[in-house]
Assembly symmetry: C2
Homo-oligomer: 429 residues x 2
Amino acid sequence: EAVDVLIPEVDNYVAYTLKTQKVLPPVQWSNLLNELNWISFVVLTLPPAVGVVGAFYVRLQWQTAVWSVAYYFLTGLGITAGYHRLWAHRAYNASLPLQYLLALLGAGSIQGSIKWWCRNHRAHHRYTDTDLDPYSAHRGFWYSHIGWMLIKHRRKPGAADVSDLRHNFVVRWQHKHYFSLILIMAFILPTLVAYLAWGDAKGGFIYAGVIRLVFVHHSTFCVNSLAHWLGETPFDDKHTSRDHLVTALLTIGEGYHNFHHQFPMDYRNAIKWYQYDPTKWTIWIMSQVGLASHLKVFPDNEVRKGQLTMELKSLRRMQEKLAWPSDSDDLPVISWESFTSQAERRPLLLISGFIHDVSNFIEEHPGGEYLLRKYVGKDATTAFFGGVYDHSNAAHNLLAMNRVGVLRGGSPHSLTDKRGVPPSQRLRV
Amino acid sequence: EAVDVLIPEVDNYVAYTLKTQKVLPPVQWSNLLNELNWISFVVLTLPPAVGVVGAFYVRLQWQTAVWSVAYYFLTGLGITAGYHRLWAHRAYNASLPLQYLLALLGAGSIQGSIKWWCRNHRAHHRYTDTDLDPYSAHRGFWYSHIGWMLIKHRRKPGAADVSDLRHNFVVRWQHKHYFSLILIMAFILPTLVAYLAWGDAKGGFIYAGVIRLVFVHHSTFCVNSLAHWLGETPFDDKHTSRDHLVTALLTIGEGYHNFHHQFPMDYRNAIKWYQYDPTKWTIWIMSQVGLASHLKVFPDNEVRKGQLTMELKSLRRMQEKLAWPSDSDDLPVISWESFTSQAERRPLLLISGFIHDVSNFIEEHPGGEYLLRKYVGKDATTAFFGGVYDHSNAAHNLLAMNRVGVLRGGSPHSLTDKRGVPPSQRLRV
Ligand code: HEM
Ligand code: HEM
Ligand SMILES: [Fe+2]
Ligand SMILES: [Fe+2]
Ligand SMILES: [Fe+2]
Ligand SMILES: [Fe+2]
């Protein structure tokens, strides 16, 4: 009964499907009117138009302003805490009253029924950045923001199971009464509240209804566009999803999207207390008052592994950019006699079995010229490592950069001595 | 002629000296008066006393306040840009006029002659944190701040060469006229300026002279105490020196002391433009107007190596704190028959040659229970790696935590397959 039953036995479902599935021809000026998704087109262009005109004629009262912002957050949470984290990702369990509330508020955001929304969203997670992702970020910012709704899909989103939702009574109820619910929740209720409480029906309609709706729309859309475009990838960089405070501020906390794509069933998007994730806070409060339970959290141990890998990656890039000393295999082997005779012409020092040319450095040496000259043509290992002065790790690293050879047959201080390895090479990625 | 000529041929100069050198008996109440360093004692206790009393009787005029702060910075720079970076560390070359200026301003700080100061400071760098360090941080905050000056040294600071300073004409001149110079620079000049310019001789003496002196003293002392105590160690943690903005603010930029101990001959203490290092800025301006030259900078490549090592160290600590999957050597080898028969009792999945028990996870699986059940007792490698769904790196890491065995004789997807190594184990410190 789950759609997954139908998945063929192949090596790679995405590659297979892309190859075998039929696609619609590309959209051009000639077929544009035919290929437009008219319902979405009206839902996404009429409210901004009405809002702009309405705002010209209807003065904004402060009560209506407060109510609009509040209703923006309420209906937004219907999407973020309801559609997204509860139904698409099963990140927690919600009691029946909370489910009805979220289904109603979500309807007020006019973003399709829960079932339709989650079907697309699960495909987005399952096939992120591929052509089976209905709003793949690889198709550009505007496509993932709004374009994907304005024209008919060129191909079907990849298979994603929503059988759990088909059994959910609230989801079915919302789907059935969807048209009446959006009228009531998106326009009638916000108008009525403003009218009954402070007599501003027009303002309630224009600001808390229409304009608030435009904001909620683009807030959600930013999760698909901006959150795949702006910010850092602290948990994984396989996909385009990113973490950014600005996106979080615009999306009621959905902006820690790099975390979310790695740990989609986690009820949190932000894991630090100081990060802005009001959706998480709301779910947590609901659990405290007994309306939600089983808040899922991905094991911290695995979250940290992702962070560790990403930080190691960045240190590896740094490591690759630096210049490193020559290895003993890449250096000429020099006999003791040759070393001492060459040291008469240029300042050569033997330290830990390596021969160093200190010409460039002898006048810059913080310990003075005298000490270096004294050890030219000699083994300075003991002096360098504390006999005279116990050099810093930086000095040791610098020393290794001046290697010009290795002594034949090693030296009293052999190459296998740990002191032959500069401190910067003891820890490597 | 350099003191280094006298250094004996030993394995470790510090250990050798600590063992063979005579020390004075410890200071106790009974011998305290005898062991006090009376000159320092007076220089360090009289000014605060006079300052407090003076401030009671002399009203602070705003011009005098401005002048005191300015003179604090001027005499402070005499120490930081002069005594410290120029003479102790030879971090740049100064023209003769600049040398005289710095020697005069430094005298106004009453911290001993250049020669005496640098001899101690070079020993501090050469024997940091050991008992040959005259102000070793290991002897406590107050000892390194001021205690080391109040009582006679229990043992001589370790050998440190100052032969270059003995040849410097300005240094010798300052040493010779030191007593007159401190009187003029610390008290007469600041008093005179305030008297001639706005008729406030008393204020000039108390505020720009005495109280300013107390501030300069403790500002410098903080480099020896606070900078070895407060902050981070981004370049090396072998010694106690630390970087902190607060210390930098208190010390005219000497607070990036972890950097400074690693790269003492660098004319900078702070390497980022936004860090507070007015001493560096002053030296740079002097070089721009032709009064200073040969500003030394440690090779950036080696500075970064220090940072890299420190960051790898911290990631290594993180790595060690995490739980990691069992290795194939630590797991029982299970035959195909045993695997399939055991899989009838508990949900076992074969992926990349490893057998996993998914009991804990089957109900939590974001991809649903159905898919996991379908592969119980089977090889799910292809399905896991894209046949059905191309799992995230996090999913792969989590998978490996559920290993309970390896399949005898490997599997079509052998253990040497790169997919047998979770992403979190591909990069290690
Ligand atoms: C190519 C070889 C050498 C290099 C690259 C080198 C590098 C350095 C560096 C970077 C410092 C600054 C302080 C520090 O980072 O620890 C230093 C200080 C010093 N070095 Fe060397 N050094 C070399 C060889 C030697 C040898 C052979 C001796 C002794 C025989 C020596 C004696 C000293 C002393 C005494 C200081 C302390 C200066 C002070 O803080 O007053 N160095 N060296
Ligand atoms: C112990 C073995 C498994 C573990 C630990 C595991 C783990 C996960 C995790 C953590 C996710 C969340 C998304 C992600 O991080 O990529 C996920 C999603 C998924 N898994 Fe698995 N999985 C396992 C086995 C399987 C198998 C054998 C299949 C298929 C036969 C499968 C199919 C899926 C699907 C289709 C999703 C996508 C859910 C969605 O985003 O709608 N998983 N799995
Ligand atoms: Fe996304
Ligand atoms: Fe999601
Ligand atoms: Fe220090
Ligand atoms: Fe120093």
